[in-house]
């Protein structure tokens, strides 16, 4: 598989503060990556370093096969960092024309990409007249101008209203569906969970996990159960070898699996025992729960 970005022991210190420490990971073509971490964990600094705006303290990184200068490699990348940055007194079209010039792409792309984000009819309005949602969509259009090998988004839904958040997510999903590699930095876990196949998790500038989302925690998932005969159910679950921890949350019983077991098989088994379930849901830990498990393990 083609490698797009490689980081080797990349570090950044701001004075005594170690913003990023010894970070190594690779981005492969065709996947959707999430960089996760709480505020101040080094996500933006990491992206800043690979995007040529923050100087690294030590370590290495290279784009593609490493044969081109960083600023030339960036012409094949589309990136939005924090809030959308454009010349406020210029129209959307003129702003994008400037980007075309920097990236050496044809200006014919401008209308095409403005249509993707639904801003075509406002293309001659000055940037400063745009709402925040429109600005963010324009930023995405700008990042897409060169049909990038990889799209990098840093907190793309920050500060948007629910409608704006929804629009941006739909656009991201559309782009991901076309096979574009995406790197999405966010502290909103459900956002990452909805679109990403791979994650890199950072905490205090250090990597604590990188890999597939579904392999993050070795877990078989758990059942959420409800029944009239609670005591009978709990004593049965405690004797069964395929269940580990069992706890009661509100009016539901949560039973964690230690071995694979399908919901249908489990239901059949219960029925045979004479226990009728009024509620049965099999779930895996959400990314949020997995994230908390991982960060807890690390701090112990």
């Amino acid at each position: 598989m083609k490698t797009i970005l490689t980081l080797q022991n990349l570090s950044k210190n701001y004075g005594y503060v170690k913003a990023v420490q010894d970070l190594s990971f690779t981005i492969e073509k065709g996947n959707v990556y999430g960089i996760l971490g709480p505020n101040g964990s080094g996500k933006s600094t990491t992206l800043g370093m690979v995007l040529n705006v923050v100087n690294k303290t030590s370590g290495k990184f290279h784009w593609f096969d490493g044969n081109v200068a960083v600023h030339d490699a960036l012409k094949k990348v589309g990136a939005i960092i924090e809030r959308p940055n454009f010349y406020p007194y210029m129209s959307a079209y003129d702003n994008l024309k400037l980007v075309c010039k920097i990236k050496n792409v044809s200006v014919a792309k401008i209308d095409e990409k403005l249509a993707v984000v639904g801003l075509l009819e406002r293309k001659n309005s000055k940037f400063r007249t745009y709402s925040l949602g429109m600005k963010q969509r324009l930023a995405i259009a700008s990042a897409l101008l060169n049909d990038p090998e990889i799209l990098i988004l840093d907190e793309p839904t920050n500060g948007l209203d629910p409608q704006g958040i929804h629009q941006i997510r739909e656009i991201i999903k559309e782009i991901a569906a076309q096979g574009t590699t995406i790197l999405l930095a966010s502290h909103l876990l459900d956002e990452v969970e909805k679109v990403c196949s791979h994650v890199v998790i950072l905490r205090k500038g250090q990597k604590i996990y990188s890999g597939r989302v579904d392999e993050m925690v070795a877990s078989q998932g758990f059942f959420e159960l409800q029944t009239e005969k609670e005591d009978q159910l709990i004593s049965f679950l405690e004797q069964d070898a395929s269940f580990g921890t069992i706890k009661k949350e509100d009016d539901k019983i949560i039973a964690f699996l230690t071995a694979p077991l399908s919901a249908a098989d489990f239901n059949q088994k219960m029925f045979n025992q004479g226990i009728v379930l009024s509620h049965l849901v099999k779930r895996k830990e959400s990314l949020e729960e997995q994230f908390l498990i991982l960060t807890e393990n690390q701090s112990n």
Binding site: N52, V53, V54, H71, D72, L74, I81, R83
Partner: protein, 260 residues
């Protein structure tokens, strides 16, 4: 807004045209006719226009400073770098813009000077040699404003905010004066002080076109003892060119080392 300032900086030099054709009558007591002083004739006109028009450089200086300040405050500098512009390309593009303005401005001043000179010099004196003698002031003018705008560019890259950049320029100017006075009256004599001060940035720009007043006075009263060495020397251009290079080079170095 910046467009207006650019237009103003182009139009103002033409005010000298008006001035040169003006005869001011002060309530009938006496008539001030500047053209009688010969300052609008070749070769003196080269010195006069370049010296006075150079004061209008402040308009474009504000544009340069705000242009860079806005790149920081709108974060378009950051976005341009992310889009694949290199820091070197960024500095060079701004420098190219400044050079283009300076070339155009020099051309404007050149044309204005020719017009004023042609109208005011007695026709029997208009020969190719007289017209273009002293025209080296045009070259001096070009280097003078280019050095000044390069300094503005550097100050703006350094200070990030436009207002602070203007403050930097102002402070450096004051420091130069204090340093010169100290050199002249406390440590050395006038000659040594001048020798050292000619390497200061603002002084090096000033030395390119010295004040024309004493030259004009001497023109009318040859016995006057105040002598200003107004000649344009190559080493003066070299010093100014050196500053231009340093300002642009350090703008680039500063930008390269900075996290945005």
């Amino acid at each position: 807004m910046s467009k207006v300032l650019i237009y103003i900086s182009f139009i103002l030099p033409f005010s000298i045209l008006i001035l040169s054709s003006l005869k001011i009558n002060f309530f009938g007591y006496f008539t001030l006719d500047l053209s009688e002083t010969k300052i609008f004739e070749f070769p003196y006109i080269w010195h006069i226009t370049t010296y006075f028009v150079a004061y209008f450089k402040i308009f474009f200086a504000i544009i340069v400073v705000f242009m860079i300040g806005n790149e920081y405050s709108n974060r378009t500098l950051k976005q341009n770098l992310i889009d694949g512009l290199s820091k070197k390309e960024f500095v060079l593009s701004k420098f190219t813009f400044i050079i283009s303005y300076c070339l155009l401005m020099t051309l404007v001043v050149f044309i204005i000077t020719l017009i004023i000179g042609m109208f005011n010099t007695p026709s029997q004196d208009i020969y190719f040699d007289t017209v273009f003698s002293s025209s080296e002031f045009i070259v001096a003018y070009f280097f003078k404003i280019l050095a000044f705008f390069s300094f503005c560019l550097f100050a703006a890259v350094l200070a990030k905010r436009s207002v602070f950049a203007l403050a930097v320029l102002f402070i450096v100017n004051i420091i130069e004066w204090i340093a010169y006075l100290l050199l002249r009256f406390k440590f050395f004599d006038e000659q040594t002080a001048d020798g050292i001060a000619q390497f200061f940035p603002f002084t090096s720009m000033y030395n390119l076109i010295e004040e024309p007043a004493s030259r004009i006075v001497r023109l009318h009263a040859p016995t006057n003892t105040i002598v200003t060495d107004y000649t344009l020397y190559w080493h003066e251009i070299a010093i100014a060119a050196g500053w231009i290079f340093l300002f642009i080079f350090f703008s680039y170095r500063l930008l390269k080392r900075r996290d945005l």
